[in-house]
């Protein structure tokens, strides 16, 4: 990761409630940063702010020293965000869904790479099933298959990547994340699962909640 992600004095309130105040952190290449905290403590809001989807009430998020909401596409091509929602269309097949996600992200992926990524996540033989008939865990795997094609984006922001996954899939995703970090990428993620991801620098920020 050639540039660092910096959060400077973030303040976020939803309605009357202050979720966090004066929150700052820096994420450099090769680092893993986990956001912890109870439900409703603002983890997802923080990730959405880090992506530039949500504007903080105060403070800013910078990528290489510049506000991400000003950089826009220049920042977003460097970012891979997987949110709570899987962004899958029920009527499209797993591979069509993944192809759309890649095209939107500007990742060039032919059919072979797409089915390779799905194989990687243990979805071999299910590439041509509509997402409608996949189980919750399989749908999550389709969404996470982007990680296997995501080497081009140095910064990964993952919101609860392990939800609904079984042990084998969790191990696979952990492998993808640690591989990315060892290649010099940065990962910002939340999870309630006690993951064991191999990384040289692994930090944790806990949001208190109130």
């Amino acid at each position: 990761m050639e540039k660092a992600l910096e959060a400077v004095d973030l303040h976020c309130a939803r309605g009357e409630r202050t979720l966090f105040d004066g929150l700052s952190f820096t994420l450099k290449g090769g680092e893993l940063l986990r956001i912890g905290g109870p439900n409703g403590s603002g983890k997802t809001s923080l990730l959405r702010i880090a992506c530039g989807l949500l504007e903080p009430n105060r403070g800013e998020v910078r990528w290489g020293g510049e506000n991400v909401r000003k950089l826009k596409e220049e920042y977003w091509v460097r970012l891979l965000y997987i949110g709570h929602a899987n962004a899958l269309k029920d009527d499209l097949t797993a591979s069509e869904n993944l192809a759309v996600a890649c095209a939107l992200a500007g990742v060039v992926a032919d059919e072979r790479r797409i089915s390779g990524a799905l194989d990687n996540l243990g979805l071999a033989g299910r590439e041509n099933l509509p997402a409608r008939v996949l189980s919750q865990g399989q749908r999550r795997r389709v969404a996470l298959a982007r990680l296997a094609l995501g080497a081009g984006a140095p910064l990964w922001v993952l919101d609860e990547p392990f939800t609904a996954l079984d042990a084998a899939a969790i191990e696979c995703v952990q492998g993808l994340i640690s591989g990315h970090v060892s290649r010099g990428g940065g990962v910002l993620y939340t999870t309630h699962y006690e993951a064991s991801i191999g990384a040289a620098v692994s930090r944790r920020i806990d949001l208190a909640g109130s």
Binding site: G52, L54, E73, K89, D91, V100, A101, L104
Partner: protein
């Protein structure tokens, strides 16, 4: 970038093909409304010829409004919209691609069947052409303006009602000029002025509406 836009269009068309009932509802609504008028008014060729452009235009406007709520709703619900916002392609262009696909699904069929429906009103062949042309230029404007409204009301309760209240005033000039084209042609004035105006509106809306909708989407998603 071009690949992403083509992908969005192909995806929306594919989704529409796999869920064709949504498309058919709009077309059927248009056919039913237009066909009920001659039955209700009675067989008076002169009167029917006079009301034809207005009836077809109002029906097309209502039909396109019927489909409007769906432009962004599904993508918003399943998280695809967030991915579009964080994509490599500027959101305004993605919105333009989506609106184009939406028009292909919900506007173009109306344009194509309008000459057939207009036969019920005993319009001359020349007028059928002018009417279809005015719809071909006008319905994309309706889709573009509607996209701004759909983006503004995204995720709100009672979005449907609010959406119609928001976009109807903006639809009125398109309706007046669009229906006016065929009326002017019927009275021997040709209707070129109205068609040119519609074309100008289309260019203007095509250039600005997707960006306005993109800004509205970012606000709605926050």
């Amino acid at each position: 970038m071009i690949a992403a836009l083509r992908c969005v269009i192909v995806r929306d068309l594919r989704l529409a093909a796999r869920r064709s009932s949504d498309v058919l509802t709009v077309v059927l609504f248009f056919v039913i409304v237009v066909s009920l008028f001659p039955l209700g008014i009675g067989p008076e060729p002169k009167l029917l010829r006079t009301v034809a452009p207005g009836v077809l235009w109002v029906a097309a406007l209502l039909a396109s409004m019927l489909a409007l709520g769906r432009v962004f709703a599904a993508d918003h619900a399943d998280g695809t919209l967030e991915q579009m916002m964080l994509g490599a392609t500027p959101l305004g262009l993605v919105v333009a691609a989506k609106v184009f696909a939406h028009w292909l699904i919900s506007g173009l069929p109306l344009v194509l069947i309008s000459p057939v429906l207009a036969l019920q009103f005993d319009l001359s062949q020349e007028l059928l052409g002018v009417l279809a042309l005015s719809l071909a230029l006008g319905t994309p404007v309706l889709s573009l303006i509607g996209a701004i409204g759909a983006a503004l009301t995204l995720g709100l309760r009672g979005a449907g009602t609010l959406l119609s209240l928001l976009v109807l005033p903006l639809y009125v000039p398109v309706l007046v000029i669009g229906a006016g084209a065929a009326e002017a042609a019927a009275s021997g004035l040709g209707g070129h002025a109205q068609l040119l105006l519609l074309g100008a509106m289309l260019i203007f809306a095509g250039a600005f509406a997707p960006w306005a909708a993109a800004v509205a989407l970012r606000i709605s998603v926050e």
